[in-house]
């Protein structure tokens, strides 16, 4: 009997030690895993899980008391809808997650940031006090909505400005540009009207006009005819892969062959290659990720093991995990239930303090309005793959 009691006590003690060692830090991920943009959520989740796996294999994250904790990712599907995104963050706020990484869509990010506390020290503001570190939603300038919102997305303004500047020297005979825009998608719209068009004009190109279509359109004959009539040297398509492919195929049918074809950042993914690799041949897109560095290749390979593909969006999720690890360690996060809200505040403050972070293409500068100034390069579609065309940095 005594032996049995001893064995039970030993077993309990061992379990207790094991439990004590298995401290966890929960990171919530959220993005679209339903609907036509599902691949974004799937890839972000895979990248976050892959990064957590690497971090945990290296021993985990160090907490304030010197102990180590494993990073755990819990991913939620926001279906690319604002109401679901807001509901998820309210739910996540009630759990022990320290920070949330997401969302996929800008139309979720914008209202979601709106429910967060505007200024971190404003006691009269009852907004949610939860740090959000966005990996995908790319519409410009959103993080200024709340001091709890941070983004690690590329600056399209900088990237397209640089692209048009480079095109000036590369194609000196190209003088005119025509746009094609997916009118009902926040990112595409903002990218054409506020970024591509503006930057093209700033670089001396004459904008001849633009054609519009909708995200679920299937007939692009009229729009491409307008494009053909404009006969511009450069055609810039600010649309997501499905309609980009539809337009490219119609351009092929109608024989529209501009000197330069430019695409939207989000189209530098496998989706475009899957839908219309042949027609996309030569399309140039600025991107904040390509597996050209040792770290980049490793991140892409590790993410692939978690059934995700590496692109500018999913690799931002990968980077976010490592940035968060550093912030948790530098800000001495306790990782206990009692300190949950204080830890969230520490993470917010830690993210706000960052002046630069380590990215897969190099150093990312952090701006005062909590946005990222990421390194980038230009890729082009060549034989069914995205290949690096030029590295402006």
């Amino acid at each position: 009997m005594k032996k049995l009691a001893l064995a039970v006590s030993l077993a309990l003690a061992t379990t207790g030690v094991a439990l004590a060692q298995e401290k966890t830090i929960k990171i919530a991920g959220f993005g679209a895993k339903t609907g036509p943009v599902r691949s974004f959520g799937v890839n972000s989740e895979a990248a976050m899980l892959a990064a957590a796996d690497v971090i945990n294999k290296q021993g985990g994250v160090r907490l304030a008391d010197g102990s180590k904790a494993k990073m755990v990712v819990e991913f939620y599907d926001d279906r690319c809808t604002a109401e679901e995104g807001i509901s998820i963050i309210r739910r996540v706020h009630g759990t022990d997650a320290l920070v949330a990484v997401g969302p996929t869509c800008s139309n979720v990010a914008e209202p979601l940031y709106g429910i967060l506390q505007k200024k971190a020290d404003d006691k009269s503001d009852s907004g949610l006090q939860m740090p959000i570190f966005t990996d995908v939603a790319v519409k410009g300038g959103l993080a200024k909505i709340s001091e709890w919102a941070f983004r690690n997305v590329p600056s399209e303004m900088t990237m397209y400005s640089s692209l048009f500047y480079w095109l000036k020297s590369k194609y000196p005979n190209a003088q005119t540009i025509y746009g094609g825009v997916e009118e009902d998608f926040a990112h595409s719209r903002a990218s054409w009207y506020a970024v591509m068009k503006d930057r093209a004009e700033a670089n001396g190109y004459k904008v001849l006009g633009n054609s519009k279509w909708l995200l679920a359109d299937s007939n692009f004959a009229t729009q491409v005819r307008e494009m053909k009539n404009a006969n511009a040297d450069i055609v810039a398509i600010a649309a997501h892969p499905f309609t980009t492919c539809g337009v490219l195929k119609e351009m092929q049918r109608q024989g529209v062959k501009p000197k330069v074809l430019i695409g939207l950042t989000s189209s530098s993914s496998m989706e475009t290659m899957q839908g219309c690799a042949k027609q996309a041949e030569g399309m140039i897109i600025p991107t904040s990720f390509a597996p050209v560095t040792k770290d980049g290749k490793f991140a892409a390979e590790t993410t692939a093991k978690f059934k995700g593909s590496a692109d500018l969006h999913s690799m931002a999720a990968w980077e976010n995990m490592f940035i968060l690890k550093d912030v948790i360690e530098s800000e001495k996060v306790a990782g206990t239930k009692g300190e949950l809200q204080a830890d969230r505040r520490k993470i917010r403050d830690g993210l706000a303090k960052l002046k630069e972070t380590k990215g897969l293409l190099g150093v990312t500068k952090r701006t005062d309005d909590r946005e990222a100034d990421k390194p980038y390069l230009f890729v082009h579609a060549a034989k069914g793959e995205w290949k690096v065309l030029h590295n402006p940095l």
Partner: protein
């Protein structure tokens, strides 16, 4: 003027895909007096199933993909019948309507999960053929879509008016109780109607994929709406009506887009629907026969 003519002809040719979807809606409604709201999604699902042949024979020609979609459409049509109609109490009109809404969402999500929402390249026939007359052009692949939809209409009319199955279908459509008393197996006729509309849907989905050059789950909802508009404008239960309304909606849609822009286009298409509902609620071709 040339732009107008081009917009009308492009739209009408593309409208042939709406017509095919309209035929499916109208046939089921004509026979069972029920709306199958999952029809357009099932058609796109069938088009996706056509791509499966490329997994086995990577070099399979476009016609093999279309044929595979055609067969897939029939299978999906039968499954939709079993799950949404056969075991559902048809006396409650809301029950099959809601079950088909559920099926619509289910098919949509199955596609999304199977492809991660990624657009899939879709083969086409005669896509390199362009008939030109000055600045005016006609797409070869859309002419094929148009031709196929006309063939489908002829085939369906022949099936309805020249075969025993057609006779039984018309009998069930007009007098289901009397048809049953005459020894017609109503459930079998209903199932066959779904298989036939599924086959047509398979062609419609494949033609839609071929016309765009790619398939995406984003197509299902707008195609459902267009199919329903075509069915109402053409006249519920009328196959020629669905064809004419499909071409009409396709053509007008392009004209509205040309003159009022893409953001107002659908507004005018909806207005057209309301005009029909108010002034000609039976559609262009009101069904002659009644039903018990």
């Amino acid at each position: 003027m040339l732009d107008f003519l081009q917009a009308v002809s492009d739209g009408m040719l593309f409208g042939a895909t709406y017509a095919l979807i309209g035929i499916g809606f109208t046939l089921v409604f004509g026979v069972m007096h029920k709306l199958n709201l999952s029809y357009a999604a099932a058609s796109i699902g069938a088009a996706y199933s056509g791509l499966l042949i490329l997994k086995v024979f990577a070099a399979a020609p476009a016609w093999a993909v279309f044929l595979s979609a055609f067969v897939g459409g029939g299978v999906i049509g039968y499954l939709v019948y079993l799950t949404c109609f056969h075991f559902i109490p048809l006396s409650n009109p809301l029950a099959p309507l809601m079950s088909t809404v559920g099926m619509f969402l289910l098919i949509d999500e199955v596609i999304v999960h199977a492809t991660n929402g990624m657009p899939q390249n879709y083969p086409a026939m005669f896509d390199d053929v362009m008939i030109r007359a000055g600045g005016y052009t006609l797409r070869g692949d859309l002419l094929l879509v148009f031709g196929l939809s006309v063939l489908c209409m002829i085939g369906l009319l022949a099936l309805l008016y020249r075969t025993k199955l057609g006779l039984a279908t018309r009998a069930v459509s007009q007098q289901p109780v009397a048809a049953q008393l005459c020894g017609i197996r109503v459930a079998r006729v209903n199932a066959m109607t779904f298989v036939v509309t599924g086959l047509v849907g398979g062609i419609a989905g494949a033609m839609m994929g071929a016309a765009v050059g790619a398939l995406s789950p984003v197509l299902t909802a707008p195609l459902t709406v267009k199919g329903l508009i075509v069915t109402v404008i053409g006249g519920l239960g009328s196959i020629p009506g669905a064809i004419i309304a499909g071409l009409l909606v396709g053509g007008l849609e392009n004209v509205f887009q040309l003159y009022r822009g893409v953001t107002e286009r659908d507004l005018y298409v909806m207005l057209l629907l309301f005009v029909f509902l108010v002034f000609r609620p039976g559609g262009i071709f009101t069904a002659k026969s009644g039903r018990d």
